[in-house]
């Protein structure tokens, strides 16, 4: 089977595989990615959630088999993390000896002690001011709200883009799945990303896993998971804004849609004015 393009029938077939067959398929994707990009030009995006922790486990398996070191694991600290996630990340890092890189927009977070604190645009560094300008954001201050369009862009997208640029990465591996939502049902194992982020390939080794498979694998192979799942959370995002209306981990949702989402607020005024011209509002 070709890993680059999958027909609808092939996708269906892959999703119907047994757990063991699914793991074999994922490992094949990971091996191909490692061969194609090399472990230094590839990073694994790890959120501490159940999906990306399983993906990390698979990378570790493949790297052990190949006798190579595991690629860098990027963890984005949005400044409003659940302590339970931090605990899990610490624990797994130690147990599995993970080369963890925590990235954070410290220029922003150092100026905000808590969610809701006001940040003054002029106090920020040049990169952040430029990003704010690109979003066409005109106010002199903004509140620190990790899930707002502006902060989301600054705390996640910019941070990840900078990480890709600084390390000249060619690929980032994320743990999205076909069954999460329609927007992902057409993703491939290797999906190139262009504008407006630095050109790179997204590698998606566990696309064919269903939510149930994740839990089956987690329990079968004794993979650590965050205690919040015990408390009934099905997906985990930032503390101040974990939505239960979606089965999709908020962080991954943002990773996929970050450019569009970051644009939402910027567009609001312009959209409103267009609607007004047609008699709405």
């Amino acid at each position: 089977m070709d890993l680059d393009y999958l027909s609808p029938e092939e996708r269906e077939m892959l999703m119907a595989l047994t757990l063991e067959q699914k793991i074999i398929q994922s490992k094949k994707v990971i091996r191909t990615a490692l061969e194609k990009f090399g472990p230094k030009k590839l990073a694994v995006a790890w959120t501490g959630g159940k999906d990306s922790t399983l993906m990390l486990w698979l990378y570790r398996q493949v790297c052990n088999e190949l006798g190579i070191t595991i690629p860098a694991c990027m963890f984005i600290d949005e400044g409003d993390q659940f302590e339970e996630i931090e605990d899990l990340v610490d624990r797994v890092k130690k147990e599995w000896n993970i080369p963890l890189v925590v990235v954070k927009n410290t220029d922003i977070s150092s100026k905000a002690g808590a969610v809701g604190d006001i940040i003054i645009v002029n106090d920020l560094n040049e990169r952040n001011r430029r990003e704010i300008e690109l979003l066409d954001f005109k106010d002199k201050t903004f509140p620190f709200e990790p899930e707002s369009y502006l902060c989301n862009h600054l705390m996640k997208t910019v941070v990840m883009n900078k990480f890709i640029e600084d390390n000249e990465l060619q690929a980032v591996s994320t743990a999205i799945r076909w069954d999460e939502q329609d927007a992902r049902s057409h993703e491939e194992y290797f999906s190139p990303r262009h504008n407006p982020i630095p050109e790179h390939t997204r590698v998606h080794p566990i696309l064919h896993f269903k939510e149930r498979d994740i839990w089956d694998a987690t329990f079968k192979y004794n993979i650590p998971f965050c205690t919040l799942y015990y408390k009934g959370y099905r997906s985990l995002g930032v503390k101040s804004n974990t939505s239960k209306s979606s089965n999709l981990p908020a962080w991954e949702q943002d990773l996929e849609n970050s450019s569009e989402r970051s644009g939402r607020g910027q567009d609001k005024e312009e959209i409103m004015s267009k609607l007004r011209d047609l008699g709405y509002m």
Binding site: S7, P8, D182, A183, S185, H186, E187, H194, N195, P196, S245, N257, S259, E260, R261, G263, R264, D267, K268, E270, I271, S273, K274, L275, D277, L278, G279, Y280, M281
Partner: protein
């Protein structure tokens, strides 16, 4: 004969072409202009299939209607109730957009069958997301870069001078400019359609003309009055649209399989249009009747709502009860919702215009109109007006009735549908299934 044999051997897979004409009414415009001998292409085309009136969703606005078209369902299933909605448990407005659409579209379904769609200027598909094929989003697409899938097409569109929409701000005031702009936009739509028709592999080709809705909003008075100085200009624009349809149909009929009836050519509008007698500001009515209060006068936004308020309205015809369990400043207990609804209902039933004409045709309960997982997000009451009364959710009007410069308004019961295969539908909700059926 040889050609036919060849076609049979190859077993042609069906192709569908859908032309959307935003806001073009069946009886108030198309049948009239055709009777008068205008719109020659449509006249001859409509003579050879089914051409009829179609009902659309409530509220009858483009965002809801086109979403209903592409998902084959009503708002309770797809979650889009208007151009704007309130963020859950707040009075803050947001724009539900294409990324948040929860229901699979016909383009996704076709993709699952291995079929590719080319979709140009379909409203409510912004920001563009991946569809199996090519998508150029329509209204309210304000940034071309985010309106194109695959994004590699964006620079090409920029070079072509592709325009998503006319400059409504300027066109609304300056009708000379409006007509030029409508013309230019129609041409750029045609250029893009020509390009993608030839270059892409597609099974469904869809293009929507939205200039029709714009001219209807701004210049309906010119259409309705044959003595109007701009009457001829209005008709002339429609004749240009007619030429566009003629050129698309010419291409269609030359596709392999069209003459054998394998392919399907359809047209539709997402709502009708009629002349405005008066706009009706529902929030002003709610204020005057003791259901709605604001903390300041005039209110800057709905966030200025006072806690004693029992109801408020959103564009164009959605009424929400200000319940304790749903809103931070809610005042109505769960058990009193029905009582408040009944009070509003009996009040609105009595609402008449200055000449005594009744304003509302139907006052509908949420559960009569909407069903599905997103029903609870919907309005508690939704209204349908008599033609001529344009319902509005504005919050700062001085009186219940008034005009704002627009001369045309939407209608729910006078959209149109055409199928060259003679397929008949009554409502816009039936189209997704009809289109998919050709491929099964």
């Amino acid at each position: 004969m040889r050609l036919f044999d060849k076609i049979k051997q190859k077993k042609i897979s069906p192709k569908t072409v859908v032309i959307g004409l935003d806001g073009v009414p069946y009886s108030e415009l198309l049948t009239r202009l055709i009777e008068k001998g205008r719109l020659k292409n449509m006249a001859s085309l409509f003579g050879q299939g089914y051409f009829g009136r179609m009902e659309v969703c409530i509220p009858e606005i483009s965002s809801v209607s086109w979403t209903s078209f592409m998902t084959g369902d009503q708002s309770g299933e797809h979650g889009i109730y208007g151009f704007m909605d309130l963020m859950p448990e707040t009075y803050k407005m947001y724009f539900p957009n294409f990324l948040g659409l929860q229901k699979r579209t016909m383009f996704d379904e076709l993709g699952s069958m291995g079929k590719r769609s080319v979709v140009i200027n379909l409203p409510s598909t912004y920001p563009a997301r991946q569809i199996p094929g090519v998508l150029v989003s329509g209204f309210v697409a304000i940034d071309l870069k985010k309106a194109v899938y695959p994004s590699s097409l964006a620079p090409e569109l920029q070079t072509m001078g592709y325009a998503v929409d006319i400059d409504t701000r300027r066109g609304r005031e300056d009708h000379d400019y409006l007509l030029q702009d409508l013309d230019a936009t129609l041409k750029s739509r045609q250029n893009l359609a020509d390009l993608l028709w030839e270059r892409e592999n597609w099974d469904l080709f869809m293009v929507v003309i939205t200039g029709t809705d714009r001219i209807n909003h701004f210049m309906w008075d010119a259409y309705a009055d044959s003595g109007h100085a701009r009457h001829a200009d209005f008709i002339e624009y429609y004749e240009k649209v007619d030429s566009f349809i003629g050129s698309m149909y010419d291409k269609f009929i030359n596709l392999p399989g069209s003459s054998e009836g394998i392919n399907h050519f359809m047209m539709l509008s997402d709502h009708g249009f009629t002349k405005i007698r008066s706009e009706v500001y529902l929030n002003k009515w709610l204020q005057e009747n003791g259901f709605l209060f604001f903390n300041q006068d005039p209110p800057a936004s709905l966030e200025d709502i006072a806690p004693e308020s029992r109801a408020f309205a959103l564009d164009p015809s959605r009424i929400y009860i200000n319940t304790k369990d749903r809103y931070p400043g809610g005042s109505v207990a769960k058990d009193d919702v029905e009582k408040v609804k009944n009070e509003i209902r009996s009040g609105l039933e009595e609402l008449t215009f200055e000449d005594g004409s009744p304003v509302l045709r139907k006052i509908l309960d949420r559960d009569e109109v909407f069903h599905g997982p997103f029903t609870r997000q919907g309005p508690d009451l939704v209204l349908l007006s008599h033609h001529g009364f344009d319902l509005k959710g504005r919050i700062n009007s001085k009186s219940i009735f008034g005009l704002s410069g627009l001369t045309g308004m939407h209608t729910q019961d006078d959209a149109f549908f055409f199928s060259d295969k003679g397929k008949r539908v009554e409502t816009i909700f039936e189209l997704k299934e009809l289109i998919l059926k050709d491929y099964s």
